[in-house]
Every structure is written in C-alpha cells, then in structure tokens.
C-alpha cells in the first residue's frame, strides 16, 4: 500500500471533490429523477471505492461498495428514488466526510464502523428484492449498448453432384463460391486448387467445414447450385470431437498437421477473473487462426461458464510455437498445443477470420468509423499545492520591488539603453504578475457547492420548505478571499433559512407560496465581486431589533427613537446582538452577524443588508477580487510616506486652516456643507502635517479628512500582510514596498472612522 504523503494528499483532495459531487447530485436527484445525476453519483462513488481500496482504507472502501450496489439499482430502474433512500445515502456521505477528515490527519478510516449504514443500504436492496424479485446486478455496470457479438458456428457440409453432370468440378466450385459468401471455409476436400486443376479426378462428392453465422436454410440455399443432388448439413461442436476426428480421418477433410491444432489452456486457480483470462487467450488465438470450435464455447466463456480449462480447435498457419505464445499470458498456467488429425497434405482454404477483425473491417467499410484527423489537444491541467503558488507570488512581488529599485538606480545614471532594457523587464514582470494573479483565482463554486446541502438540512430541521437557487458560481476570486468567505457565507445562509424563511403555514397565511426561496448570486461589478443573498421570508422587524437592542443595553430608549430604518437594521451587526430567542444548533452557536461583518471587512470587503418586513431580506457583500494588489494614493505626512486605499478616497482638497474649529479634543472643519472631523496621524508619523492639503476619506457614509504634506500620486501596489509577530496594528492594514525599497504602511480606513 502506498503510504506516501503525496498519495495521501492527492487522495484527500480528489476524494473531497468526488464527495461534493455525490452530495450535490443527490440533492438534484431528490428533486426528481435525473439520469445524469445518477451517473455522476455512481461514477464518483466508484472512484472513491477504487481510490480507498488502493490506499488500503478498508472501511471507506466497504462503505462505498455498499453505496455502489444501491446506486446500481437506481440506475437500472429497479429502485425508485425516495426520501429514505436519499437520507441514507446522505448519511453515508457524512460518514465519508468524517473518514476523509480522519484520513487527512493521518488516519485510515478504520476507527469508523459503518456496519449500521451498510445494513441500512442492504435493507434498501433486499426490500426491493422482496418486491420485484430482482437481484442486485453486477456493480460498476456501464449503461451502454453491448455490441452484438455475431457468434459463428461450424457446420460440416457434404454435397453430391449429379453423376450425369458433365463438369462436376465446376459445379462444386460454384457451390463453394456461394458458400464463401456466407461464411469462411475452414477446410475442404477436395481442395479448390484440385477442383480447378485440369484433371481434378473429382468423384462428385465434396466435404467441407464452414464457419458462419447463417442458419441451416441459408447454407442449404447457397450450396444448392444446379445439379447438386444431395446436401447434408450438420452443426459441429467440440462435443462431437471424436466424431469429428473420425469423420475427418475417414473423408480426409481435416488432414493436415500443418494447420489444424488443438490447444488446451489451463488458467491458474488464483486468477482474479479466470474466464476473462480464457477469453483473452481465445481472442489471441483467433487473431492468428480460425477457431473451429472450443469448449467451453465463446458464448459460455462470455457468460462466465468456465471451470479453468479451455480447449480450442483451430486452423492456423502460424505454427504451434506461435499458437503457444498467443495462448500464453498472465495467469495462464499451462498451454498444450497439438496437431489435430493425422497427416495429409491437402491444403486448407483459408481466409483470416476472427471476432476482432470485424472492427477492422468496419473501419474500412464505414467512413464514419474511420479515425478522425487527430487534432492535438495540448491543454493539460496540473495540480499545484497552494503554498507553492504563494511562494511564487511572493517571488513575483519581490521581482516587482527589485525592478522598481533598479529603475531608480538607472535613473541616477540616466542611461537610455538601460532604461529601455528595464522597460522590457518591467513589462514582462507585470505580465508575470497578472498571470500569477489569474492563476490564483478560484471560482466561487468551490465554496458554493456545499450550500445546497446546508439549506436542505436546515429546512428539514425547521420543518420548512425552501427552494435554493445559486447563480454566478463561476465568478472567480483570489483564493485568499475565497478562503475567508466560506464561513461568513455559511452563517448568512443558515440565518436566511433559520430566521428568514417562515414555516409553510405562516407563509400561506401571509398569502405567499408555502415554499420559500433563497437566492445566492454572484457577479462582477466595477472591478469588484458582488455576492448577494436574498430571501423572500419575513424580513427583519424594526420593533424586534429595537426591543432586543435596548434589552441588551446596546442602545438607550432615547436613542432608539431617533434611528432610521437603515440604522436599526445596522444594529444587527453590533457585537453581542442575536435575534434568535434561544441559541439553536443551526444558526446559533453564539456567533452573531458582528463576526460575519468582521470577517468580510478583514477581506477588505463590505456587507450591508436591506430588509422589508413581510417581504424578505437581502444581504449584499462587495469584495475586491484579490487582496494582494490594490490601488492606493501615495501621500507624505511629516516626511514619511503612507498609502491610502483609493476605494476610500473621496477627494483631495485644500482647506483654509483658519476655519478649523475645536470640538472637545478633536478638530473639525466645515467642508462643502458638511462638518468633517480632522484626523491627525501624529502618533503614527511622529508629528503632524501643517499644510493645507487634506485627503477626504469615507467609510459607509461617514467622512473625515487627513491633512497631508504632499500627494505623490496614485498607483497599484502589492499588499504585504503584517506578520503575526507584529500582531494587530490599529490603523494599518498592511504594508507595501515601492520601488525604492522603503516600507510604506497602508492605512486601514475602516478602523479609523
């Protein structure tokens, strides 16, 4: 068993994909029969089985195998899909998920006992058997048309030409030609050459063996040329071997040790699929000869009727050594090749026939089967560990920074040639950077995929009916953003079903469809990604929020009277606020929307909610597609540089310093009809700017201004997060390193206002 760490990682990664695939398709299946969904589930379960078997994770393999059995019944239409079945299968996927968690941490799934689940699965099968009497079919069956194997049978034909005929040999040749059209002549006495020769000495009786799929009547018609008086046709099989030999030796039909052979093949007992080994040997022999008969027959082998010994009688020009080689192979214990009858030099009419060459013939005959001009497909996906991408990204960033330094140095020496070369370098670096950014983009489906299951479970738990619709799952975000987005979104979705959607009876009373709708959509808008979660539930009640907020001491009664509807709804995001009366195990766990808000903001995103009582709520998240690069305004305060995210900048303005008024400890200034607070960043910059330039910034409708000495300009910068050693640094969200190698802080506007 491969116990290599690489295999384990690969195993876990691909198993998670397949697991998700099963869950999502089970949910599709629950909403109505869907063949594609069944096929997908089946394929994924089969893949999980194969991979876990290869890793030696027996518990997981057994469980997947049991699932496969049930899925097979669904596929073949022998078991209908109902809630019980989906529930059990989903329970199995839960168990698989637990196993995968265990395996990821170095376990082998053996600590999980799944006998109970397997028992339930088996009861699903036996229930069905009791009803329909059907047995579970072989697993891993693929629904496809089995090409009808044209079974050819051997016949012995003897025919007599009227004694009065003047050209008996020509008559015989005509009959032979007709027979050739419906089958393959294995052996003929006299030989066609002899019949064709000028003095054939033909007695008038011809005896031959033909291999054909035609029935006896067709054979008789073909052989019935004029002046043929008597035709006897007998089917031939190996069971009549003795008779055949006797016949052959008496009428001299089969009489050459050069090309008639009997091959006896013994398949070893330990072979995984002994009958298949025999089939392979059979096919290999058919490739180099004409099989007259075999025991067991091809059909019996195909049906698995095989005891370990295969005897084949065939005609072949390849020689006994080649026959021996053809019949030999993996799991073939012994091969015996012997000539079939006693010596005679009559030549046998041959035409290569084998079951396999049919495909060759087909390929020639039917143009649609001829190989298409191969168009080369060079696209190859490779899987790369994320930390390697991160490393690469860091290197690219370093390259950007070093490039900037080089440029500054070049500037000092003012060399035109060097400038040109640097321009080319920086173009390549910039392309490289863009490429890296794109590589790191992951579709939202990565986290969206688990939500349908969540909605289903919460709805079932609460006795609600919910239709969950997702759109825009293909929208891409940087993986650092995706990583931080899963949990907050999960929380919002649980909330929407748990708190938002009403019970069916309540919805009917409100004149709504008893089935609620939750829509999760995502799209790109002005360089950002918007994720919206909309429900048509009861909406957020101002009264309930106010009562709760006052009860929890978040606001006073007086304050509550002056709040607008939007401000009231915003209370939801305050720390310590939770509208659920008791903490449920669905959306509770003591985590409030304040945590969700914090998580989104740490991703440099914003969240807001619109809600109408009785109609539903809409949560809207606006996120930057990546956190690694942002556009900033570079300013200088007290001679030190600082970057302000452009998204927060309203404008740069000149102020009249005499208009500054003091309000308590802080300063404010009237500006375009508003009074703006002035933030002096003296702590951060060991002194303050006394110029008359301010940068006006805004966060969620609240503005303030920061006095600065100089505005250097706007540029895109690479954000380097603060290391854990420094810890959280109020007012600074990260740093950037411009071309000169300086370290410049990036202002965290959210925390300042």
């Amino acid at each position: 068993m491969p116990e290599d760490d690489t295999y384990r990682k690969l195993f876990v990664a691909e198993s998670i994909e397949n697991h998700e695939n099963i869950v999502n398709n089970l949910l599709i299946l629950e909403n109505g029969s869907d063949d594609t969904a069944i096929d997908e589930i089946f394929r994924a379960a089969h893949t999980l089985k194969g991979m876990s078997a290869s890793m030696g994770f027996d518990e997981m393999e057994t469980l997947c195998h049991s699932m496969e059995d049930v899925l097979h019944l669904i596929r073949s239409g022998e078991r209908s899909v109902d809630k019980d079945l989906i529930d059990i299968l989903l329970a199995c996927t839960d168990r698989i998920e637990e196993m995968l968690d265990d395996i990821e941490l170095g376990g082998d799934s053996s600590t999980f006992n799944s006998r109970e689940l397997e028992g339930k699965l088996k009861s699903l099968i036996s229930e069905e058997n009791a009803v329909s009497g059907n047995k579970p079919g072989p697993v891993a069956q693929i629904n496809m048309e089995c090409p009808e194997q044209q079974e050819k049978y051997s016949h012995h034909i003897s025919l007599s030409i009227d004694e009065t005929s003047q050209m008996k040999d020509i008559r015989a040749l005509l009959a032979l030609a007709n027979l050739k059209e419906i089958g393959d002549i294995v052996s003929c006495n006299p030989t066609p050459e002899k019949l064709e020769s000028s003095n054939s000495g033909f007695s008038g009786t011809m005896s031959l063996y033909i291999l054909t799929d035609s029935d006896e009547d067709t054979i008789r018609n073909a052989a019935s040329v004029s002046e043929v008086t008597d035709i006897t046709i007998r089917p031939f099989s190996l069971l009549q071997e003795e008779e055949f030999e006797e016949q052959a030796s008496t009428d001299g039909t089969l009489n050459t040790t050069n090309n008639l052979f009997k091959v006896i093949i013994t398949v070893s007992e330990g072979s995984d699929l002994g009958d298949v080994r025999a089939l392979i040997a059979y096919q290999n022999l058919a490739d180099i000869g004409q099989i007259i008969s075999s025991k067991p027959s091809f059909q019996d082998l195909d049906e698995g009727k095989f005891s370990g010994l295969l005897t084949v009688i065939l005609h072949s020009d390849a020689g006994s050594e080649a026959l021996h080689d053809a019949a030999s192979g993996v799991d073939i214990q012994h091969v015996l090749v012997e000539p079939f009858t006693e010596e005679n030099d009559v030549k046998v009419e041959t035409k290569p026939v084998s079951n396999i060459t049919e495909s060759e013939d087909d390929a020639i005959k039917s143009p649609e089967k001829t190989p298409k001009k191969s168009k080369k497909k060079e696209v190859q996906n490779i899987r790369v560990e994320i930390h390697r991408l991160d490393q690469m990204m860091n290197l690219v960033e370093d390259l950007v920074i070093t490039g900037g330094r080089l440029r500054q140095i070049a500037h000092q020496y003012s060399s035109k040639e060097m400038d040109e070369a640097l321009n080319m370098v920086s173009r390549s670096v910039s392309d490289l950077q863009n490429l890296m950014m794109n590589i790191r983009m992951i579709p939202l489906s990565q986290i969206f995929n688990r939500f349908p299951r969540v909605v289903r479970d919460v709805a079932m738990h609460d006795g609600k009916e919910v239709e969950f619709i997702m759109t825009g799952a293909e929208t891409e975000l940087d993986r650092s953003v995706i990583d931080g987005l899963g949990d907050p979104l999960l929380h919002l979705i649980r909330n929407a079903v748990n708190h938002g959607i009403e019970r069916p009876e309540k919805r009917i009373m409100a004149g709504k469809n008893p089935k609620g709708t939750v829509v999760l959509s995502a799209w790109r808008e002005q360089g950002n990604v918007v994720i919206q979660l909309k429900d048509d539930g009861g909406g957020i009640s101002s009264q309930v929020i106010l009562t709760k907020a006052i009860e929890k001491g978040l606001i006073t009664v007086e304050q509550s009277n002056n709040l607008t509807r939007d401000e009231i709804v915003d209370l939801l995001f305050m720390a310590g606020f939770s509208t659920a009366d008791e903490i449920t195990d669905i959306s509770g766990r003591g985590v409030g929307l304040d945590v969700v808000k914090g998580a989104i903001e740490s991703l440099k995103g914003t969240i807001n909610v619109e809600s109408e009582e009785g109609k539903g709520s809409t949560f809207k998240l606006i996120l930057p597609p990546t956190m690694a690069i942002i556009e900033v305004m570079m300013v200088r305060i007290n001679g030190l540089r600082c970057a302000i995210p452009i998204a927060a900048v309203v404008e740069v303005a000149r102020i009249d310093r005499t208009a500054i008024t003091r309000i308590g400890k802080s300063e404010a200034i009237p500006f375009r009809g508003e009074v703006l607070q002035i933030h002096h960043l003296n702590e951060m910059f060991r002194g303050e700017s006394n110029g008359d330039i301010v940068v006006v910034i805004q966060y969620k409708g609240t503005k303030c201004c920061i006095p600065v000495d100089v505005v250097d300009g706007q540029q895109e910068v690479v954000v380097k997060p603060l290391s854990n050693v420094i810890g959280k640094c109020k007012g600074v969200s990260g740093v950037t390193i411009p071309g000169d190698g300086d370290v410049v802080p990036i202002l965290d506007v959210n925390s300042m206002i």
């Binding site: 068993m1 491969p2 690489t6 295999y7 690969l10 195993f11 691909e14 997908e40 089946f42 394929r43 089969h46 893949t47 194969g50 991979m51 078997a53 290869s54 030696g56 195998h65 496969e68 072989p138 697993v139 891993a140 069956q141 693929i142 496809m144 089995c146 090409p147 194997q149 995984d272 699929l273 009958d275 298949v276 089939l279 392979i280 096919q283 290999n284 195909d302 698995g304 080689d325 053809a326 192979g329 993996v330 079951n355 396999i356 060459t357 495909s359 060759e360 087909d362 390929a363 089967k369 001829t370 190989p371 298409k372 191969s374 168009k375 080369k376 497909k377 190859q380 996906n381 899987r383």
Partner: protein, 120 residues
Amino acid sequence: MGRILVVDDTLFMRTLLKNILFSGNHDIVGEAEDGEDAVEKYSSLQPDLVTMDIVMPKKNGIEALKEIMAINPKARVIMCTAVGQEQMVKLAIKTGAKGYIVKPFQAPKVIEEINNVLKS
C-alpha cells in the same frame, strides 16, 4: 521499454500507476483524464500501450477503446478494472482490449501484464 498512455479520471490513480510503470522502466508518453481525451491523445501520441480506466466522465473506457480500435486495430489496450466489473472487462476484451489489471493495483502483476501485452 514501452511508451505508455495512462487513462484515468483521477490524478491519484494516474500517479499510482505511473509510479508502478516507472519502476518497470516504462515511459509515460501522456495522460488522459476521460475517454474523449484518451482517443485524442492516442491519435496524437501513438503510444505502444494504453492503460484504460472504465468508469470515466464524458466518454467511458469501453467507448474510448472502441474508437481507439477503429483508429488502429492493432492497438494494445489494457483495461483497469475493479472486482465486480467482470462483464465490462469481457465486453472490453471482445472489443479488442489485450489485457486487464485489477484495482487495487499490485505492482508486479501490473508490470507482468504490461510486459506480456507489449511482447505480443
């Protein structure tokens, strides 16, 4: 030794098989992750031998085998199978597959099978 095209829808299985094949001194000329991909790569790479998984998306291993046999009736294709897939393997053998290996793979058996088919 042989130039081999490995077909399986999971990277896990392909990696496993590739390492076994490397240990048997075979060259991997390409990998395909579904039946369609397999047929295209067969045409463009013309490998000496193909290891073909059966249950795959887009086009399963049997359909891919059929198309490969149409391209080259002498193609050497070995089916990768699991216990319980006997009927599929037989269908594959009748369609022209030259051998099969059973999951979970045992390296010596895999190499024996491949060497044997390459010899033919």
